[in-house]
Symmetry: C3
């Protein structure tokens, strides 16, 4: 019984020296069924490489899924470089094409953030100038800028980065994205996700949907259903001091405007506008009667639900108000230690 | 005596199935004078619909305003879909074209934020992919992305949203806008408004001018003359917890960088950098002698002038320092309750 | 011995009435050596003006630097307006072309921020609409928007500003820029600088490199090597309350997400996420034993090294924790007073 992790047929852009700059997979496959996997394995070698339009056409005509068939048939008409990527297992990334395929799986909602092996992705993705003329090799950019000027043309350089914007590759259904420059390919946007102008979603990060995202979802962070990130709110990435803890935010949470968290939150949590909670923050826990249960570090509250975080305006003390009794809170805190 | 609320002649973009995606009105009219209103009513039916170039030309040639006449005559030369929208009263929005006309009135400075009935605007505006090839229906985007790739073309998707960027429709005089992706059509930018890269202005929101806007002006918020919003400062929208209170900021105010407000401010108010004031925040009011007048909730200070908000670095207490005496402050606070 | 400050050969864009909108210098010169300076002075008058392709070609062919020669020869092939700018001394800016040359020097890493006389730069730079058709005069924009619509063309207006985005003119080596709309021409990005989507760098400001920039580098601010600005962190510009103090940040510093500083920092300083330090903030200084050394204003700590700033979660007090003893701290604070 043939099993493979992922498969993609697409177009690639290359530099003038033939280096691969990006790949576009209109209909990527994740863990295809046995019949499909057999067909893939029989026609395409493992790994990534060039492929002819004829090979894609043969494969497309055998496809039983309408939209996939349609997309692949359209692909055949291209005079661009065509490529196939067959990943038998979910291993560390060993090519630019494999990196792009895994990023597509995320944005096509075929893989959740943190569900794939993305080791080496930075090493395998070239730094590219993303321009109004498409992807350009960074070292060919000065000449391209000059050449455009000399001809009286306007070359817009939108970004110089290893990751392109998602929307030039795929826009999943049921989303709004106010400023597409802030969503990297590899972001996961569930149905019903609205990302406002101040929102940001990195690769391998996302929102389950429905969500209102006006803050920043760092690499590795997942936002649960019906949770909102207020304007310019922050979820701490591992790079920025979050350390080994991967941040996630549960369902029905609200992180206020200009607030932030360096600890994962469970469900129904609120952080008031302007307050930043970190793993090392001393926090006074208060029960549903308003009684002080005791002071803990932020990390001891990691993942708990039904918490309201504020900084008391009268005392400056950071408080975690809960809707539970002191005795239950004590048990929970004890369990976390 | 004929009176109508608004009138617009423009071009529309439609999807391949004929659905309206956007409208562009180069010279919209708000509450035109009697003679003009008579001419409109005699030539155009109420509501929105298609119109011929000949009809526009006849109307344009009767126009006594030079720039309007010029704009409408240019419009006639279009081979695009032309439309007319005649709104006799300012009622709930009942068409995409009517929504676009009201958004144009705001950005053309013909209507102030919160002065129009915008009910149903979200329902009447389609979600559109705003691309380098112009507006595209969201469900036609996957094919368009693939088709562009196959031809070796580059299709940039700038945004997937119900609201387009303002600058592709109108740039009022005397403004600077560092990053146009952050100003929605329907924003009101008064003369002398500078919006820096971190600034944002939603539809039905704006700055009276002159202003320096480096923060976010949420839907419904108005910034008074000579007031500055510091970098990434926040004005709380009704969605984000501001509730029923509509935020406004008076004249000569400064909201510091990374600060925010969930209450309206009068004139000459300052919020120090990094401090977020909400309606529920306990605040110690201090008079001009430095004497404590008493602790109030943020909402009790809503709309007052001459306030300086800080969080005391020594005690963590939020303080509102004023240049008035305790007795006057007491009276004012009492009046607000 | 001939000495000149700077020299540039480039293309210019002009409005329909001949007003200069921008200049592009592919290979600007800063304080050229004597032989080169002699060649410049003998062939080009001081100040800025038009120049023929032949003059540039003669100059290019005498060039001994390969890339410069190549760039200037390419320039000759242009049918655009060509210009030369020769600045004998670093004086106040007296032309648009001179302003553009000095901005190019910064972004080409030929001049550090705060090293040039930029007086009058705002007066000499016109406000320009930066569009997908290139730079347009602001007063010609309404007609251009209408004309594009009438033809069924799409005119994107990216920005209406005195400063264009840097990447349309030069992208120095070894950098990543996630969102190019947030880097103005005149920004200095050292080798190894990564600017994430939330990062921003103004003109005459920059990062020495290597750096991770996810916050805002205001005009005049320099970020030292190996220092990171967290997401949406703020460096206070002179406009926003920083007053006469020019902010700089030394090496190996970390300004946390949503944090900010209104005082310059030395080396190895950290400001915790969400905390904003200003010149007037009262701060308790704590020595390496945890003993309180005394309370100072932020400005008294300006430029010091090895400081960790936090707002104590239990007391709301802002603290500066150091790795030095009380006695040394006392001396240092005394020296600053």
């Amino acid at each position: 019984m043939t099993q493979i992790y992922a498969f993609g047929l697409g177009t690639t852009t290359t530099s003038s020296t033939g280096a691969m700059l990006d790949c576009f997979f209109p209909a990527p496959f994740k863990t295809p069924g046995t019949a499909l996997a057999d067909a893939i394995v029989s026609q395409f070698p493992a790994g990534s490489g060039e492929v002819t339009a004829e090979t894609i056409q043969t494969f497309a005509e055998a496809s039983t899924d309408g939209p996939t068939r349609q997309a692949l048939l359209a692909l055949c008409e291209s005079d661009r470089n065509l490529c196939a990527v067959r990943l038998d297992r979910d291993e560390a990334i060993d090519s630019t094409a494999a990196a792009y395929l895994k990023l597509h799986l995320l944005s096509h909602r075929l893989a959740l953030p943190n569900s794939q092996n993305l080791d080496n992705i930075f090493a395998r993705l070239p730094n590219v100038a993303w321009t109004s003329d498409g992807p350009l090799a960074v070292d060919e950019l000065p000449r391209a800028l000059l050449s455009a000027r000399v001809k009286g043309k306007n070359l817009q350089v939108f970004s110089v980065d290893k990751f392109p914007r998602m929307t030039n590759y795929v826009v999943p259904g049921g989303v709004r994205i106010a400023d597409a420059s802030r969503i990297r390919l590899g972001a996961y946007l569930g149905d019903g996700t609205t990302v406002m102008h101040e929102g940001f979603i990195n690769f391998n990060a996302g929102a389950i949907g429905p969500n209102m995202v006006e803050g920043r979802i760092s690499q590795g962070v997942i936002l649960g259903a019906h949770s909102d990130l207020g304007g310019s709110s922050s979820t701490m990435g591992t790079l920025s001091g979050g350390g080994a803890i991967t941040i996630s935010i549960g369902e029905n949470c609200l992180v206020g405007a200009n607030a932030g968290t360096g600890i994962p939150l469970g469900d129904r949590c609120t952080i008031e506008a302007g307050l930043y909670i970190t793993a090392g923050t001393p926090i006074m826990v208060i029960d549903e009667q308003g009684a002080e249960v005791g002071q803990v570090k932020g990390r001891e509250l990691a993942g708990a639900s039904d918490m309201l975080f504020i900084r008391n305006g009268a005392t400056g003390r950071i408080e975690c108000r809960t809707n539970r009794k002191a005795i239950a809170l004590n048990e929970q805190l004890h369990a976390h230690n």
